[in-house]
């Protein structure tokens, strides 16, 4: 059994990454690029400098949070596809607090904007949770649709009510400096958000595997009927799981606003919410797996820019590789499961 777990949790993801890279290499050959040259920049180019490494971590921070968000709901048997939108409303809330209270001491301003992001994300995740609990609506559809609502809500806010005073760009003013997340290493962009994300990793692990609530959520996720039999209120737990999942995604908005942009920009995320789904799957829906997978995605995304600069390969090739990783991962998981089932069969 231990060996079986190893197969799915470790061997399959690693093989999926390798297979995606091989297929990516073939694509590179088609556009007359030497894959070895491109990959050496993509994979190792940023590991040689402190700045490069710090950029990888910076990219990984919001992906860790959205990955945790997906993981949390997934463990309860729910698919939260709405991390993108939840991150947006988290960012909106963090910016509003940063604009209004950014003059307070950082010890107040930062926790307050974190709290605001948690609450906003929690509401955005709680809506599909409530609909699921009361009407049994599909959380998948509702979370997807709420993404659009959040994206355009943000567009509207930066266009009209929260537009910067100079009125030039569709963006808000800078938040108060006391609400900036402090930089951890001088001359890099690595900010406190990284540590906050790691804190949430540990927190999610503890909640899911060390507490009563986590026991209930995992029971609902693995066997709804048995959970019901055990007297667990399945509907309440589903609502709670989606609300907390949304809150986690909201934190991604907080780290991006407080640590990087320091203001609200239209379309500031390039699909970080969806990267979260990918890293959660790649990390086998475990908090520590999410960290590793997020670091990989951070490395690929930062490396993509370097690759574009030095080898002239379009950075978008990385999104193809990311997609391939997930495809190979899902396929590989199915094959591994089938292999195990075959092995287990016949005992009957």
């Amino acid at each position: 059994m231990k060996k079986d777990l190893l197969l799915i949790n470790l061997v399959v993801p690693i093989l999926a990454i390798l297979a995606a890279l091989v297929l990516g290499a073939i694509l590179l050959l088609f556009i007359n690029v030497n894959p070895l040259e491109a990959y050496s920049v993509l994979l190792f180019g940023n590991l040689t400098s402190l700045y490069g490494i710090s950029e990888i971590l910076v990219k990984a921070v919001p992906i860790i949070m959205t990955g945790l968000a997906f993981t949390f709901a997934y463990r309860t048997g729910l698919f939260n596809i709405g991390a993108e939108g939840q991150m947006y409303v988290g960012a909106i809330a963090a910016v509003v607090v940063g604009l209004k209270l950014g003059h307070l001491s950082p010890f107040l301003a930062i926790p307050l904007s974190l709290l605001a992001a948690l609450i906003a994300g929690g509401i955005w995740g709680g809506i599909p949770g409530l609909l699921k609990a009361v009407f049994g609506s599909s959380e998948i559809i509702i979370t997807i649709m709420l993404n659009y609502v959040a994206v355009y809500l943000l567009s509207y806010l930066v266009d009209k009510p929260l537009r910067e005073k100079s009125g030039f760009y569709p963006q808000t003013d800078m938040i108060g400096e006391n609400a900036f997340l402090p930089v951890l290493i001088p001359n890099t962009r690595l900010h406190l958000g990284f540590l906050i994300a790691l804190l949430f990793v540990v927190l999610v692990y503890i909640i899911l595997w060390r507490t009563k609530l986590g026991f209930e959520l995992r029971a609902v996720g693995l066997n709804l009927h048995a959970a019901e039999y055990a007297g667990i209120d399945v509907r309440t737990k589903m609502f709670l799981a989606l609300a907390l999942s949304g809150a986690l995604a909201g934190v991604a908005g907080f780290t991006e606003v407080g640590g990087i942009h320091h203001r609200l920009l239209d379309n500031f995320s390039k699909g970080v919410g969806f990267d979260g789904i990918a890293v959660a799957l790649l990390g086998q829906a475990t908090p520590f797996g999410v960290v590793l997978a997020s670091l990989l995605f951070g490395l690929l995304q930062v490396g993509a820019n370097s690759m574009q600069r030095s080898v002239g390969v379009p950075a978008n090739i990385v999104y193809i590789i990311q997609g391939l990783i997930i495809l190979f991962l899902l396929g590989g998981t199915i094959l591994a499961r089938r292999y195990q089932k075959k092995k287990a069969k016949g005992v009957a």
Partner: protein, 508 residues
């Protein structure tokens, strides 16, 4: 006489498991040959090898004297082997005739000559005394009739050897009798039949010879006239088995469970319980006999608070529990061994520890203040319980999925009994469980009665009801057809009631 089927030295391994080891099996023309063994003994694997669903690692199969190597079930069917699975492979919304001819080559291109087929099907049915209506829809047929359709289907494909996988699991005693007389008639006409079963009485009743499998090996092949239940059980389990657990005389205490005029609709909105009433006292076992699907599931779920009745009352120790949440009812003293351990009883991907605390994870000492689980004390308690209830598992931290059915069920039983319930609701407590575990679980249920708990036993295995109950009630279409004490009960009468026929006029 030349045997119709000869399997020589069949070995089939799955990674880590030898399912069949050098198995030899000979079946003669016109013989009913029972394949007896516990779950996991390798009966199904052997038959799947024969039927072409699995390929053997080594060994030879001769059918009608010719060496055969079936690549798929299609080949086996073409050669003249028919298999009737435990779960029928019929399409409910099609007619009997459609089900029988489905998959045959067309008569005119892709079209069937229905009239011709109809005639031929009826002819076969008449010849073997299998009463079927070719124009009825399968969904309207009783389970016994569906089984007859399966048999005709196999005969229509010119089967010479019929494999029947646990055919009696879903039948009433009368239907079983009917089936057995059909099988005997078929064998007299020269049909060879392999009967897969784990029920000893069936082997003795209907089979000519029996091959006993244990741990993937043939223990012995013998004539049934040289065998009795005790011998067969011993061969099957490898040690002596107590069939009827020892039980002290019943000393009923106060009423623990009282159900009055209970009406329950199932999920599809169909009335599943229709004014059912019963009472169970402390220190007694009330057995509910009945054919599967007559409201047993709904009765159990209503008591456990998992579905809300439409009308009626349920009193547990005098307190009404209709409309109460499952946890409240559990805390009032219900222990519930659910019908389906995979669906309700266990979270298969949870560890044994987690499954053991499933009903009490939120209480001290498993859960401390602030909602943190006390993993160490949970683990040591679980380990203790596994040892006490003789669950075969490497340790308490393996997933429940990895255990055999019998050991999984023991985990459920251990969890429910260790909470010392006032009412033990045991639904199909030994379904799909090996003989050794059955014996053990039965002992535990009787121990609960001896302790003074009220036990409501719901089972479709009449032998189980007869072995354990103090009183027997028969459920049919959501009502109690009749009730009797388990003191030389008239089995024929129980059987009739299970089929919905009230023999005597009674003033219930």
């Amino acid at each position: 006489m030349q045997p119709i089927l000869k399997m020589i030295n069949i070995t089939k391994t799955f990674p880590g498991v030898v399912a069949n080891r050098n198995v030899n099996l000979e079946v003669y023309h016109g013989e009913i040959h029972a394949l007896l063994g516990e779950n996991g003994a390798g009966k199904s694997t052997l038959m799947n090898v024969l039927y072409g669903l699995y390929q053997a690692d080594s060994g030879e199969i001769y059918f009608e004297g010719k060496r055969v190597n079936f690549e798929s079930a299609k080949d086996a069917i073409r050669a003249g082997i028919g298999m009737i699975h435990q779960h029928f492979m019929l399409i409910p919304v099609h007619t009997v005739l459609d089900n029988i001819i489905m998959g045959l080559p067309g008569d005119r291109g892709i079209f069937y000559d229905r009239a011709l087929h109809r005639e031929r099907v009826l002819e076969i049915a008449h010849r073997y005394g299998l009463e079927i209506d070719p124009d009825a829809y399968v969904q309207d047929l009783s389970v016994g009739a569906q089984q007859r359709v399966e048999i005709v289907k196999a005969l229509y494909r010119k089967a010479k050897l019929l494999i029947m996988d646990e055919p009696t699991a879903v039948l009433t005693p009368q239907e079983v009798k009917e089936l057995f007389s059909t099988l005997k008639k078929l064998s007299q006409e020269g049909m060879s039949i392999i009967l897969i079963t784990h029920k000893l009485n069936e082997v003795l009743e209907v089979a000519d010879r029996v091959t006993v499998l244990r741990d993937g090996q043939v223990i012995k092949t013998l004539n049934t006239k040289d065998a009795d239940e005790k011998l067969l059980a011993q061969l099957m389990v490898g040690r002596e088995v107590n069939f009827v657990p020892a039980k002290s005389p019943c000393q009923p205490g106060p009423v623990v469970l009282e159900i009055k005029d209970l009406v329950v609709k199932n999920q599809r909105g169909i009335t599943a319980l229709n004014g059912l009433s019963l009472t169970v006292r402390g220190g007694e076992i009330l057995g509910i006999a009945g054919v599967d699907g007559n409201g047993q599931t709904e009765l159990a779920e209503a008591i456990a608070g998992l579905i809300k009745p439409v009308a009626g009352t349920i009193l547990l120790n005098g307190e009404p529990i209709v409309g109460k949440k499952p946890r409240v009812i559990t805390e009032k003293g219900l222990g519930h061994i659910p019908e389906d351990r995979h669906k309700r009883g266990l979270v298969l991907d949870f560890t044994l520890s987690e499954n053991i605390i499933l009903q009490s994870y939120y209480c001290e000492p498993w859960c401390g203040k602030f909602g943190f689980l006390n993993l160490n004390s949970i683990k040591s308690m679980a380990q203790e319980l596994l040892e006490k209830y003789k669950v075969k598992a490497p340790h308490s931290e393996v997933a429940a999925r990895t255990l055999s059915g019998g050991n999984q069920q023991k985990v459920v039983v251990a969890r429910e009994i260790s909470r010392r319930p006032k009412l033990l609701l045991a639904v199909q407590p030994t379904r799909g469980v090996d003989v050794g575990a059955i014996e053990y679980i039965h002992e535990q249920i009787i121990k609960e009665r001896e302790r003074g708990a009220a036990v409501l036993l719901i089972s479709t295995e009449l032998s189980e009801i007869l072995a354990l109950s103090d009183r027997i009630a028969v459920i049919y279409k959501g009502q109690i057809m009749g009730e009797m004490t388990n003191d030389n009960p008239d089995i024929n009468e129980i059987g009739l009631m299970m089929a919905g026929i009230r023999k005597k006029k009674e003033a219930s």
